[in-house]
């Protein structure tokens, strides 16, 4: 749970006062809380995400490098879990008209 997963921010929206956004992790998409970096993040930017929260912005090269390294070291358990729940989450997002 300690290693952040880099993802690409696809869109940003407000959810009951909290900045949220759809983030793409190597093809797996889910909603992420962007509140901590709301002032500096825009769609297209990359962020390091810890347990569903973007904690820092990173550049594209670093995002790709880190993602590949996590894959090579089989440290993407969280991503596997994300993949499992992504489908149901996308339905949830679609139901609210965000995707």
């Amino acid at each position: 749970m300690c290693l952040g997963i880099p993802g690409r921010v696809l869109e940003v929206h407000d959810d009951r006062g909290l900045a949220m956004g759809l983030v793409d992790f190597g093809g797996v998409r889910r909603e992420v809380c962007l509140a901590y970096i709301a002032d500096e993040v825009q769609p297209g930017d990359y962020a390091l995400v810890h347990v569903g929260f973007a904690i820092s912005r990173i550049d594209e090269a670093e995002a790709k490098r880190t993602f590949e390294a996590l894959q090579e070291m089989s440290l993407l358990d969280e991503l596997e879990f994300l993949r499992d729940i992504a489908a149901q989450e996308l339905e949830h997002i679609a139901a609210r008209g965000l995707a």
């Binding site: 290693l3 901590y36 709301a38 810890h50 569903g52 929260f53 904690i55 390294a69 070291m73």
Partner: protein, 370 residues
């Protein structure tokens, strides 16, 4: 060595190893704090490459491993209650409590749900107003901003059926406890880069100067770790004791200020027991009084609990760096990732599981039979 060649930076890694060997006039003892780094070191065999120049001691930076048995037992009690939906990060489900683990509680009918984000647990509470949703808030500085925000948002939205069982720990007090231990052998630290992305590294400054230990904020890839080791050895050889940042591409000195702010508003420093290590003063985070309504221990009147660890598990000595996993008599026989005696064998960030998964066990077995 064979693993390093799989990486595009294999040549670079080998060059750094030879630089470290050239630099070291004696064998230095360094600790990597983070379990993710332990995973890399053991998988790539970096410690074996550095053998006579640097000894790597694997630190306590595995949240699953250090969550105290008492908190696990409280989680098990809560998860078994009929009105509770107990939510947790997936890694905690197989951690053995005194009697069983969360997976077994689920098998007996307890409502135990894995969540990716603490906000998922909050959503579950909103969707199930007739249930009590409890989230197991564990982890280091990496999960604290997320868990703090979930509690903050629960208050903002007036969600009354959401509470958190808090067992947060912070890294610097554990480093101080290790350095104050009379048996301490650690001469320098690799601090966890990912832990510092949110919180920065200002807290490490007094520690490096006060205890005369180099602290290098380091990433988790093989080349990062070797660079971190190089910088720490260079400081030791030159008699410098500073905080240096190897992981400049992701970490800044101050971290992410809004995240630090919310953590400070929701949590306060509390004394915390670390599994296998014991109580460390002001080493944990607990909810501030303003958020007491969201404290599962208060809502369910859990009180204090004192339980003993299984006698055979030597996790404490492993977490303090006094014992390598394979030196434990139960390692790989009575204690395996499938049937763990203690938490370091459960998590992929645990030192025992890393040794087991990457063949350190088999190496010993061959040596014994040879």
């Amino acid at each position: 060595m064979k693993y390093l060649s799989e990486y595009r930076d294999g040549g670079l890694a080998r060059r750094i190893v030879s630089q470290i060997r050239n630099l070291a006039t004696r064998r230095w003892v360094l600790m990597e704090v983070c379990g993710g780094q332990t995973h890399t070191i053991v998988k790539q065999g970096l410690d074996e490459l550095l053998g006579d120049a640097v000894e790597m001691i694997h630190g306590p930076g595995c949240p699953v491993c250090v969550t105290p048995l008492e908190q696990i037992d409280k989680a098990l009690l809560l998860a078994a209650r009929p009105e509770v939906i107990f939510t947790s990060f997936g890694d905690m489900l197989r951690v053995p409590g005194s009697e069983c683990d969360l997976l077994q509680v689920r098998a007996r009918g307890g409502a135990v749900r894995i969540v990716y984000s603490p906000l998922d647990a909050l959503e579950l509470a909103i969707a199930n107003p007739d249930k009590q949703v409890v989230f197991f808030a564990v982890g280091f500085e990496t999960t604290a901003p997320a868990n703090a925000m979930a509690v903050w948002q629960a208050r903002e939205l007036g969600v009354r059926n959401f509470t958190v069982l808090v067992s947060h720990v912070t890294v610097p007090p554990a480093m101080i406890a290790l350095l104050q231990d009379p048996d301490n052998r650690v001469q320098g630290f690799l601090a966890a880069g990912h832990v510092c992305t949110g919180m920065g590294w200002t807290e490490y400054d007094p520690l490096a100067a006060g205890f005369k230990v180099p602290i290098v904020v380091t990433g988790f890839e093989p080349v990062d770790i070797l660079e971190g080791i190089y910088l720490a050895v260079k400081q030791l050889e030159e008699g410098r004791f500073e905080v240096e940042n190897q992981y400049v591409r992701a970490v800044t000195r101050l971290g992410t200020v809004p995240a630090r702010t919310v953590v400070e508003q929701v949590f306060q420093l509390v004394d915390r027991k670390w599994r296998g290590i014991g109580e460390i003063p002001a080493s944990g985070l607990g909810l501030r009084e303003a958020f007491a309504d969201f404290d599962a221990e208060r809502r369910f009147n859990l009180g204090t609990m004192v339980v003993d660890e299984p006698a055979e598990c030597q996790a404490g000595a492993v977490l303090r760096g006094q014992l390598k996993p394979r030196q434990c008599g139960a390692f790989g026989t009575r204690c395996t990732p499938e049937h763990p005696l203690g938490a370091p064998m459960v998590s992929s960030e645990g030192a025992c599981a890393a040794y087991h998964n990457y063949g350190r066990y088999r190496a010993v077995e061959m040596a014994v039979t040879a």
